[in-house]
Symmetry: C2
Subunit: 311 residues, 2 copies
C-alpha cells in the first residue's frame, strides 16, 4: 500500500487509477487509502456540472475541461450515472464522446455507476473526488444528472455548481421543481444557437428574481459547447465565483459544511453495516414476515434491529 | 389518542386528517398512531403514478381517481413534492386542479413536501400510505416526480407502478437513464392526441424489447387525461396487473419486500436520531473542524461518532 501511495504522490496516473478503483468499491482497504491521502487534499476547485438528460452537460463538461487545458491547468472528471436497482449498470451514452480527452495526460476521467441502497452513492463520490484532489488536479468536474437527493448531496461537495439548461425542453421548470436551481451558482443555457435560447434566458432571469434578497444571484451564461463557444466566459465566471467565495469567507464555511455532511453520511453507513453484520439473515427474515403479515409494525421491528447494536 | 383512533376506524375523515398530520411529522406520537393502525392495513391496492414535469401525471392521477369513483370505489391520493433543501416548501402548481376531487367524500388527497436530510421522505410517505390503507380506501394513488432514490423507494411500496410519458419531450429517455422505466408495470403515453404520441409508443416498445426475457412486459396504453380518454382501459390494465401479481404469488412476495425495505429505512432513521442525540453539538463541531482542516479524514471522524452509540 505504501508503495502505491508513494507512486500516487509522485504523479503516477496508473497508481491513481488503481487507488480510485479500490476507493470506489468502499472496501476497508479503500478507506485506508482515503485516510492516507486525505491530508493531501483540500487544494482543488471542485465544480459540479448538473442538468437533465439532453441538456448537453457531458459535452459541456468535456469542453470546459478543454478550456482549462488551454489555460495550462489539469482536470479530473467524475461522471456519475444514476443508480438502477435492477441492472446496477451504467448507461454510458454520450460519455463516449469524451474519449479524446482521456488521451490527454492532463485530464483524468472516471465514470461511476450507482451503488446499492445501504451504501449510498454520495459518500463514494466524495471519496473519489478527495483522491483526485489529493493527486493535485487544479479542477475536479463532477457531472451528474440533475435530480434527487444524491444530487443535492453532491452539490454540497462542489464549491461551484453549474446548472446546464437546454432551450425548448421545459428542463428549467423541472429544475425548479426539483429544487436544483436553488443550489446553482452559475446557470448555463447550452445550445445558444437554438431559437428558444433567449426565451429561456429571460425565463431563468425571471425565476432568479424570485430568489431571496441578499443572496448572490447566479450568473446566466450562454454556451454552444459543441462549437466551443462561450467557454472562456464560463471559465472566467467560475473563477470569479471562487474568488467571491474566498473573499467573503464562504469557502472556509463550505469546507466545514461539506465535512459535516460527509462525516454524518459515513457514520450512517458504518452503523448500518454493523446492523447487517449483527443480524442473522433468519432473524431479519422472521421480523420481515411478521411485518408483512401485519402482526408487527415496521417501526417496532426497526427498533428491535437497532437495539441489537446500539448502546 | 384512543378516542381519535376509534373515530378513525369508524370512518371519520377529520380523524383521518389529524392522524395523517401527526404521522407525517414523524413525531413519537405519530409513530404510536402507525403502531395502532398498522394491523388494520394491508388491504388496499397501492398504485404509484410517476413521470417527469409536464407529463400530465397530476391530471392523470385525478382522472384515474374519477374513473374509480365511477366504479363506486374510494380513493386516497398522496402527492409528493420534491425536497427543496432551502425553502422546505412545496410547489403546489397543477395540484390546484385537483381541488374539485377533494370535495368528494370518497376521495381524500394529501400533498406532502420533502423532508430534511436526516429524516428521509420515503419512510414518511410509507406511513401516510399505511394510514390511508388502514382507513379502508380501495385504492391509494401515490403521485411522484420521476427521478432519484426516493422514487425507487416509493415504487417499492406501490404494487403497481404507472410511468406517465409525454410525447415530444424526450422524457422517455430521461426515464430510461434514471432507471425508472425498469420499475414501471404500465407505461402510459398521455396526451395521446399529440402528433408524436405514436412515435413515442414505438420508441417505448423498442425499449421494452431490450428488457430481460422471462419478465412480464409492461403494457403500453394511450390516454388523454384532460378529456377523460383511455381511463377505463387504464383502470382495467391496473386490475389485470393486480390479478397477475396475486395469481403468481408475487403480491405476497411484494408485501415482504416492502416490509424489509421499510424496516431497514426506519432503522437507519432511528440510528441517525440516536447519533445526533448522543453527540453534543460542540463535539460534532470539533470533529467537523478537524476534518475541514484535513487533520482527520471523514471516515475516522465517523468511526469516532459511531463508537459513541454502538455496543
Amino acid at each position: 500500500m505504501d508503495e502505491l501511495v508513494q507512486r500516487f504522490l509522485s504523479g503516477d496516473r496508473r497508481a491513481l487509477a488503481r487507488i480510485i478503483s479500490r476507493v470506489e468499491n468502499g472496501t476497508p482497504e479503500g478507506r485506508e487509502y482515503v485516510r492516507a491521502l486525505f491530508p493531501h487534499s483540500g487544494k482543488t476547485h471542485i465544480i459540479g456540472v448538473t442538468g437533465g438528460a439532453g441538456s448537453g452537460k457531458s459535452t459541456l463538461t468535456g469542453a470546459l475541461a478543454g478550456e482549462y487545458r488551454k489555460r495550462g491547468k489539469t482536470v479530473g472528471i467524475v461522471a456519475v450515472d444514476p443508480s438502477s436497482p435492477f441492472t446496477k449498470g451504467a448507461i454510458l451514452g454520450d460519455r463516449i464522446r469524451m474519449q479524446d480527452l482521456t488521451l490527454d495526460p492532463g485530464v483524468y476521467m472516471r465514470s461511476m455507476a450507482g451503488r446499492g441502497a445501504l451504501g449510498g452513492l454520495a459518500p463514494s463520490i466524495a471519496n473519489v473526488v478527495a483522491v483526485m484532489d489529493a493527486f493535485g488536479f487544479d479542477y475536479v468536474l463532477v457531472e451528474t444528472i440533475g435530480a434527487g437527493q444524491d444530487e443535492v448531496e453532491i452539490a454540497a461537495t462542489a464549491m461551484t455548481t453549474i446548472l446546464v439548461n437546454n432551450p425548448g425542453t421545459g428542463d428549467d421548470i423541472q429544475a425548479l421543481k426539483a429544487g436544483i436551481i436553488e443550489i446553482a451558482d452559475i446557470l448555463v443555457v447550452n445550445k445558444a444557437d437554438h431559437p428558444a435560447a433567449d426565451i429561456l434566458v429571460s425565463q431563468l432571469r425571471a425565476l432568479l428574481a424570485l430568489s431571496p434578497a441578499g443572496s448572490r444571484r447566479p450568473q446566466i451564461l450562454k454556451t454552444t459547447a459543441t462549437k466551443g463557444e462561450g467557454l472562456e466566459e464560463l471559465a472566467d465566471a467560475i473563477a470569479e465565483h471562487y474568488q467571491y467565495l474566498d473573499e467573503t469567507g464562504q469557502l472556509a464555511k463550505h469546507q466545514e459544511e461539506d465535512a459535516r455532511h460527509q462525516v454524518l453520511a459515513i457514520t450512517r453507513q458504518i452503523v448500518l453495516e454493523r446492523i447487517r453484520a449483527a443480524t442473522p439473515d433468519e432473524e431479519l427474515e422472521a421480523l420481515v414476515k411478521r411485518v408483512a403479515a401485519r402482526e408487527l409494525d415496521p417501526h417496532s421491528a426497526a427498533e428491535d434491529l437497532a437495539a441489537s447494536v446500539l448502546i
